[in-house]
Amino acid sequence: MSADIDVRLFSSRSRSKSLADESEFMGTRAKIVVSPGTTITTDGGFMRGHGTYLEDENGLLSAVAGVVEKVNKLITVRPLKTRYNPEVGDVVVGRIVQVCQKLWKVDVGGRLYAALHLHSVNLPGGELRRKSIEDELLMSQYLIDGDLVSAEVQNVGVDGAVSLHTRNLKYGKLGQGSLVQVSPSLVKRCKTHFHNLPNGVHLVIGLNGFLWITHEGEAESSHFAQNLERVDYHTRESICRTRNVIISLSRYNIMLYDTTILYAYEISTDYSIAQLLKPEIQMEVAHLTRQKLQLEG
């Protein structure tokens, strides 16, 4: 209990190893890292891509901090840290921030809030019809500020405005479980983003870097009725462990998909769940996962 409070010094952070790990994985090709405003080239023969801008006297400048990528004549800068860039068909997990007329505003970690229109959700009961004024009034009974939803990106407007839809039984309101937020660049695009892991955990890996961890029973229940039943201890342990494992992986920049998470979960069973919060153990788990991936891949 409280007798062992872990106090440590910043200087005891081991930084060298993680950096060595990364350089190993950055590949042998030297990358040019630029900060905003750095001149990339003054040669006019290049095309300006994402993350760059032109200035008359200074040539092509970087608009973000990241690595320069060149494809033929096109120069782009890939940012090191970025917000979620939505694409049509992406599975996302988001949090309702506002109930408006005919739509919900959803925080998906992008530059703008996404819109979930009333006409792009399935109503409780599953009946398909035009939404009436009564439905509009009942909107806040279905989803309210703070609720989590899984959804699919339906459309991305020219100004970057995103609309979502939940017109599928696998999407909708999320119940009991735990949300982890990681960088969206760490989520690997897969065939499916809904996984039932062998440890009884149901995982929704949103492409926006929001990962929803819940148990299998919750995944099968309807997305409308709130299930406030107690999650049994064993399942809860699996959920907590999965959560900590995902955080460990993301801290050491390992791509997140079902295989990596499962590998790391197996490796992590040597430690208690709370131990997984410690940086040295997170590193150990991440390192072993990386090794295992290389062996198998």
């Binding site: 409280s2 409070i5 106090v7 440590r8 010094l9 201890y233 809860r236 907590c240 769940i273």
Partner: protein
């Protein structure tokens, strides 16, 4: 306080977890996350520190200045707290948005430090009635991740531990007025006696259980928070209740005893690292790690 939106079912999950003594991150109810600290984070200050508990990041700098004492306490120095919540921690704090919470924290600290049992300010007196040292404690909150009071108080204590005040000699001049002379050697410095300085231990009531070191999500589920300033010897400097809920007298006493126990353990763990950190003081890795 910057609030995080958490849905009802997430709250249910957290509350049930606390009842099972298995929180979302696998900790038990009375487990702390690991605390990281360093001394001498800001070399321009008389004393400084940097503390991080998971995502909560606090930077403290203390500036010692000579000024006139309070009329009420002519033979004692002063200690003043200023808390600045950066917009980096939460966009809500932009402009004057963080002032209210900042004043609350500063007030709580001032209250915890008021008694000379915990911090004897009489050693900061230079010439009675005329000149005393005033410690300006500037607290910068860089990131929020729960248990803010605890982190702030640990950082303040660490900065006080790092505090070095130049040695002064007072002599009576020819005109009978006292003259203050600063020692030529900058290394003759006096540390402040901080052995009894208290730290906050916040106990949050989630469901029917008391929980220590809550994350932001858990803070949303707590009904009432007991913030107790505990000295290393277990004495309680002040207590404060925040939140909407109420406490039964029995559970209040239970909470206070629990806080006392945890506070003593916390001080013990902190002290060990303070000694180590002092050797490394000034060799900072930069606070934006």
């Amino acid at each position: 306080m910057a609030n995080l939106a958490v849905s009802d079912s997430e709250k249910t999950f957290i509350i049930h977890g606390v009842e099972d003594n298995l929180r979302c991150d696998g900790r038990g109810c009375l487990d702390y996350r690991h605390i990281e600290l360093e001394l001498g984070a800001a070399p321009n200050c008389s004393g400084s520190s940097h503390v991080r508990i998971a995502n909560t990041d606090v930077l403290v700098g203390i500036k010692a200045e000579i000024a006139a004492p309070d009329h009420a306490a002519p033979d004692r120095g002063r200690i003043e707290f200023f808390v600045d919540l950066t917009a980096n921690a939460d966009p809500e704090f932009e402009g004057t948005g963080g002032d209210e919470l900042g004043q609350q924290i500063a007030g709580a600290l001032a209250e915890a430090y008021v008694s000379k049992r915990f911090l004897d300010l009489s050693s900061l007196c230079i010439v009675k009635n005329q000149q005393v040292w005033v410690l300006f404690v500037d607290i910068l909150i860089l990131e929020l991740g729960g248990s803010l009071y605890d982190a702030v108080s640990i950082a303040v204590k660490a900065a006080l531990y790092d505090l070095r005040i130049p040695k002064l000699t007072v002599s009576i001049g020819e005109d009978g007025k006292p003259e203050i002379e600063v020692s030529d050697d900058p290394h003759t410095q006096e540390p402040l006696a901080i052995a009894n300085v208290p730290c906050f231990v916040t106990l949050s009531k989630i469901g029917s259980q008391f929980v220590v070191d809550v994350s932001q999500e858990e803070a949303e589920c707590s009904t009432v928070n007991m913030c107790c300033a505990i000295a290393p010897n277990g004495r309680m400097a002040t207590t404060m209740k925040t939140g909407v809920g109420s406490l039964h007298p029995d559970s209040l006493i239970e909470a206070l005893q629990l806080a006392q126990e945890i506070g003593v353990a916390l001080h013990k763990a902190l002290h060990k690292q303070f000694v180590k950190a002092q050797e490394l003081s000034g060799r900072t890795n930069g606070f934006l790690l």
